[in-house]
């Protein structure tokens, strides 16, 4: 075992893990908010996330084709991408709820879940169909923006790229906004009330359907933002990209205690860090017998173990602050 190497890469691994973790946290919010309100796993959330990524790449490619991408400030472009991605994904999530989940709201639990799986599969191929017709390609690459690739040398061995910083800052900002929205505004109060008891909430004059739509809208918007950030960070996307990050984000939500917003964030970070460690250290620890390819198994095993032994999640005992 190469101890000095393992210590040497430690800070870099932590940084990578944090970037990944914030991404998972943003996606996990969509799962956790919907679960908090409806006790329903929105299986299609991973595709809402992918749609965000595709909106981002379409805008970037459009700007590039007009030759204006180089002239614009990358941060301005990034804000534009985020807003557009959030808008489209949020509206899509709300529309999906209206069409495929609302008619099933009073059905037994598994019925809407199966419908959600259907939506997920449908959206994957719908994105593929759209891109095939529009660009004759569905494996797309985010055009690079030079300023986002600048790396800051923190120490001799550790550096961080601007885009990773952007991911962390944007994610933190959005998590903060969401926290304020849920806990400090009237809408947030209504959401919490609907989560607690739909019938009573509606007696108190809350429009339950509107609040549920809003929950999907906000959760979807977070997913869309995560999609754009995912594209900026990892470049390559295709219509099926969302499945694995989606499953992992769900793991993160469960890990943190599903229905709990702070929990989703913590769960995302823990999972991101664990995965980064697994990816970098597994092969060092086992002398190459098991490599980074086992990091997915690692995440799924955590999911299975958590669900079996502590279905409430890590933060399950904290008073449930459900969205």
């Amino acid at each position: 075992m190469d101890i000095p190497l393992m210590i040497g890469i430690f800070p870099q691994v932590v940084l990578d893990g944090l970037v990944l973790g914030f991404m998972y946290a943003l996606i996990a919010l969509g799962y956790t908010m919907v679960y908090g309100v409806l006790e329903f796993i929105n299986f299609a959330h991973s595709e809402i996330f992918v749609v965000g990524a595709f909106v981002g790449v379409e805008i970037l490619l459009g700007l590039k084709a007009r030759g204006v991408l180089g002239n614009l400030s990358p941060f301005l472009v990034l804000i534009l991408l985020l807003l557009a991605g959030m808008l489209v994904s949020g509206l899509l999530a709300a529309a999906v709820e209206r069409v495929a989940y609302r008619p099933l709201r009073n059905a037994p639990r598994l019925i809407p879940l199966i419908s959600a799986i259907g939506v997920s599969f449908f959206l994957q191929d719908a994105v593929r169909l759209f891109e095939s017709l529009w660009r004759n390609a569905f494996n797309l690459v985010y055009p690079t923006m030079d300023q986002l690739n600048l790396r800051f040398q923190l120490t001799e061995t550790i550096d961080i790229s601007t885009r990773s910083l952007v991911v962390i800052i944007a994610a933190l900002g959005m998590l903060l906004l969401l926290h304020l929205l849920v806990n400090r505004t009237k809408i947030g109060k209504a959401m919490r009330a609907v989560a607690e008891d739909q019938a009573t909430a509606s007696l108190m004059g809350i429009n339950v359907n509107r609040i549920i739509s809003l929950t999907f809208l906000i959760g979807g918007a977070m997913g869309g933002a995560a999609g754009v950030l995912f594209g900026v960070q990892y470049s390559l996307i295709n219509p099926y990209t969302g499945f694995i990050p989606g499953l992992k984000a769900f793991t993160a939500a469960v890990l943190g205690g599903i229905g709990n917003i702070t929990g989703a964030m913590m769960g995302g970070l823990v999972l991101g860090l664990l995965e980064a460690f697994a990816a970098s250290y597994l092969s060092l620890l086992t002398n190459g017998a098991f490599g980074a390819e086992y990091k997915d198994i690692f995440a799924f095993s955590i999911l299975i173990l958590i669900l079996i032994f502590r279905p409430k999640g890590l933060m399950g005992e904290v008073v449930r602050e459900r969205a």
Binding site: A107, L110, I111, I117, F122, L129, L303, I304, P311
Partner: protein, 425 residues
């Protein structure tokens, strides 16, 4: 039209004449126009009509036996693809019937069902190919094992997959419905990733490259053919052989399913599905029954897995993705959860949609594109090359799942005893 057909089918003599006529005509059409998609679809539809027709039991069995046992293989010798489709349909019918026990009868949503199929497939693939020689000493046995071992492994596959089902089931069956679904999904992915990566440190599965060549079962009926004076090459015999093997297994699976459905076990499963709490208070051993459901469903998949690996001669982890699990699920949902004829119909419709309709659409579109046909002023030659209808099976599955859940959750052919949809107690 439907009304007309329904009333005719209720009248025994008419029904017999109608279904015999339809089978004969469609088979003749399919034989004559051996490349026609429509003719073959008509042949399949005629078997469906036969199912609905009201006639004496022995006549129905006779006709079904005639259509599936003689006409189908004959058509298969004319167009090999027909037989391939029929064999695939059979494989998926068995899988759908297995999943039907877990999802339909016991009400446990299993999203990683294909994992058991994979376990069965790898059980034979590893020992029926030189693969096992890579990690077992030659003193144990010489690999690949001979074809006669295939039949033993068919049983072994059932047992290994069943055991896997129990091992997976033990810890997770306490979970609530939707969590159980996600855990089984995770388990399915774990099996696939393992198959993908267990080529080192010890090479069990040969990783993404897959295992080949896998030994096929022996042509033990060769002497009989010689006596009859039939001299056919193995390349002609094997598709028919596998078709009959699949037909045999499907027959056994249907029989087991029907016996289970009305046994105390089947009733216990349905009781659990309807209301767990009530089931427990009636003295049903909950965990044992759920485990049994998992093991039963898994064992069917295991048997089919063994057969699949022998039929394909080559397997790799790509055959066992989440997509396959959802495909089988949508077959069960389409036909009707808990309904045996439903699962058969669902498997047939979805497989035919995937293998024939989508592929046919792709071919047709390509022909139009190459011919440069113009529709409404749009030249089809400009159609994007990436547009391949054959690749859109997810969309089919998705649409089936959404529409069925919203408009007809009990399925096309609902189970007789179905009163409520899957409850989670």
């Amino acid at each position: 039209m439907r009304e007309w057909l329904a009333t005719r089918l209720r009248e025994p003599r008419m029904a017999a004449i109608l279904s015999i006529g339809m089978i004969a005509v469609s088979a003749a059409l399919a034989a004559n126009y051996s490349r026609s998609l429509l003719a073959f679809l008509l042949f399949q539809a005629s078997i469906l009509v036969l199912y609905f027709a009201r006639m004496t039991r022995w006549l129905k069995m006779l006709l079904a036996g005639l259509a599936l046992g003689i006409l189908m293989p004959t058509l298969g010798t004319i167009n090999g693809y027909y037989l391939e489709v029929a064999t695939q349909v059979g494989i998926f019918v068995a899988l759908a019937l297995g999943l039907n026990i877990v999802v339909g009868l016991a009400g446990l949503l299993d999203l990683g069902y294909v994992a058991f199929y994979a376990v069965g497939a790898y059980t034979w693939a590893i020992f029926g190919s030189p693969q096992a020689g890579l990690f077992l000493p030659e003193s144990v046995a010489r690999f690949p094992l001979g074809g006669q071992w295939f039949f033993l492994f068919l049983l072994l596959g059932v047992m290994v997959a069943g055991t896997t089902g129990v091992i997976l089931g033990l810890p997770v069956l306490r979970l609530r419905g939707d969590y159980l679904a996600i855990v089984t999904l995770g388990f399915g992915e774990v099996i696939r990733v393992l198959a993908n990566n267990l080529d080192k440190p010890i090479n069990f599965t040969n990783g993404p490259k897959g295992i080949t060549p896998i030994t096929r079962p022996p042509l033990f009926f060769r002497p009989l053919l010689d006596v009859l004076g039939i001299d056919a090459a193995p390349s002609v015999l094997y598709p028919i052989y596998f078709y009959f093997l699949v037909l045999l297994i499907v027959g056994v699976v249907i029989l087991v399913n029907r016996r289970l459905e009305d046994s105390h076990i089947g009733r216990a499963w349905e009781a659990i599905r309807e209301d767990e709490l009530a089931a427990i208070s009636m003295g049903i051993p909950l965990v044992r029954m759920k485990l049994l459901a998992f093991a039963c469903g898994a064992s069917f998949a295991g048997a089919m897995g063994v057969l699949f690996s022998a039929k394909q001669v080559f397997i790799n982890p790509e055959s066992f993705t989440f997509l396959e699990s959802i495909g089988v699920l949508s077959m069960v949902i389409l036909g009707g959860m808990g309904s045996i004829p439903g699962a058969i119909l669902g498997a047939t419709v979805v497989t035919v949609l995937n293998l024939q309709v989508l592929k046919g659409l792709s071919l047709w579109l390509n022909e139009l594109r190459n011919a440069g046909v113009t529709i409404l002023g749009y030249n089809l030659a400009q159609l994007p090359t990436q547009l391949e209808p054959a690749k859109y099976e997810r969309m089919i599955f998705g649409i089936i799942l959404i529409l069925m859940m919203i408009f007809r959750p009990q399925g096309i052919l609902p189970a007789r005893r179905r009163t409520r949809e899957l409850g989670d107690g």
